[in-house]
Symmetry: C2
Subunit: 341 residues, 2 copies
């Protein structure tokens, strides 16, 4: 055996070990006494997720799904991280609006910026969709994509959530991180399909969720390509291009992923059509709704909420067999930092 | 050692073998005397591709690129398969127009359908972009996405290219298949970024190029999500949503992939901005243009061609260091079927 062959054998074994770690399915972890979902309380919710995954990976099972088709889609706001008192991307927009108003004081006298800058919750709530889109348009445009990514990166490092006094990315749901990891370990490709902006999310999804930019589907503004001397740039324009919400979610899934998912998780009526598109199909399918029922550890809201309203989708859940996760009772831990305290 | 542990070991070794086959880089193949690009003639073109890949995968090399960033984008028409005498998707549209005209004879009297149905090359050439889009609109809309996929699948099985009397998917470029496979074996994620319709391409890219639907970026029409009783469907509308061509290619890359590529291959002025966006950046980057110079085995055309016009991008190539592949001299084999004859 030559030196080269030995090196090649070593690489082979290293690659083998990696691939084993990556694809070890939950059934094998369970056999070793390792629970891949430790932050989920034992009960029907955890049981049904486990049963679904075990069927999907089991060759010969009626619920078996080939690896190529194991596409799982997750809403982001309210499903993978919190969304109160305002969508975190809107908190970013408000902070950026304040910076812009410092540079250009006239903004503070113009609506809807005046109301937004007042910080008054009632004034914010009264902005309406048009006002929100104007604020997003102003605060998200006029930059190149690279500059915008840097702005988001800086904000995520410095901004603190008003209730928890922690970085916004601390407010991700530990049980959902475990679910993402378990699905990936079982051969699923995990995607975000969110009403949030695709460039805003791509700044943190890989580090926080293990989901790379190419697996993030979201709303987008128009961009234009220009050569600035010998530097090619993509410039963000203040015009909406695509809203990835409600019936836009199956449309976005079709355009970006080109396959119909077999697993979908959401938390609001904006996820209803994605849940329909995923689950109303032949074969093993799974729909999951995160129900915010925990006013102590997180928030409790559904039908009357301005943010993350869950009404029609909740009514439809039992009819379609979607799992409604009761955050208060089904989750042992909500945020990763609880474990460390 | 228990029975279960032995089974687990066996699975481990099977997974190991798979992962080794998948990631064996070209340098290791070369060391074993296996040429990963056998359909490329020896010479500067092949040499520069090989040198680029070897630098990218070599840790410690100034040209090393981490696996996550190894994004390679390929135009489709004229780059991965032929595009003469008309784009193959347009041949599909013309065949479908004939079917529609049989069902609805009035179409044959209306322009631009009348000219298109005449089969006269001059009339076809005179249709202009507006006429082409009208024909694409009529022939690609009114179906659900699933019905459209089935139509394309049937057409690819039955239609024959007029010059070669073979299925259109036979006219893929063997050297480019080898390049795709070599890049993937070297840790690259390969994408199609084409002016063609994303749903048209997704019907065959996985089987033909090994590129799954989620790695196909293309032009798209509007679709709408509707619940047809208890059946959710996506219905194709006769409206253009996004043209993934020229400056639209970097825009599409940003929206769909969210990362800047390090390798780009094209063949026409429609690929110029994608080549700029990819190569005018720090670090090892590679731009490749397929120059159609072989009138005997394929076609010879560039600056004056109606289809796949290559003019400004050809002028820019030497200034930017893009590799211009001379199909006649650099390719030993053009189509896979030549090898088998």
């Amino acid at each position: 055996m030559t030196e080269r062959m030995i090196t090649s054998r070593r690489r082979f074994l290293a690659a083998a070990l990696m691939s084993f770690l990556v694809v070890a399915p939950p059934a094998e972890l369970l056999a070793q006494g390792i629970d891949p979902l430790p932050s989920w309380n034992e009960g029907p919710a955890k049981q049904s997720i486990r049963a679904f995954i075990e069927g999907v990976v089991q060759e010969g099972s009626p619920n078996f799904i080939p690896v190529d088709e194991r596409i799982a889609v997750f809403d982001n706001d309210g499903t993978l991280w919190s969304e109160q008192p305002v969508y975190f991307q809107f908190a970013f927009a408000l902070d950026r609006l304040q910076d812009l108003a410092k540079a250009n004081p006239a903004l503070a006298g113009q609506e809807p910026y005046k109301s937004a800058l007042s910080g008054d919750p009632k004034a914010l709530a009264a902005l309406g969709e048009k006002g929100l889109l104007q604020i997003i348009g102003l605060t998200h445009a006029g930059l190149t994509v690279a500059e915008f990514n840097a702005e988001v990166g800086d904000w995520l490092k410095t901004a603190r959530h008003p209730r928890f006094d922690r970085p916004y990315t601390d407010l991700v749901f530990q049980p959902m991180l475990e679910l993402l990891a378990t699905l990936r370990a079982s051969g699923f490709k995990t995607y975000i399909v969110s009403g949030g902006g695709v460039e805003f999310m791509s700044a943190f999804t890989e580090a926080v969720y293990g989901i790379p930019p190419e697996q993030v589907v979201g709303s987008s503004g128009k961009t234009e390509f220009v050569l600035d001397g010998d530097t090619p740039v993509l410039r963000k324009l203040p015009e909406v291009e695509f809203i990835d919400d409600g019936p836009g979610k199956p449309v976005g899934i079709n355009r970006f992923i080109g396959r119909r998912p077999v697993f979908a998780a959401g938390n609001s009526d904006g996820d209803q059509q994605m849940l329909q598109w995923t689950t109303m199909n032949n074969g093993a399918r799974f729909g999951l709704i995160v129900h915010h029922t925990d006013a102590v550890r997180e928030w409790a809201y559904d039908r009357d909420s301005k943010v993350g309203r869950l009404d029609k989708a909740l009514d439809e859940a039992s009819r379609r067999g979607w799992l409604v996760v009761d955050m208060k009772n089904d989750w042992k831990v909500v945020y990763p930092f609880e474990k460390k305290q």
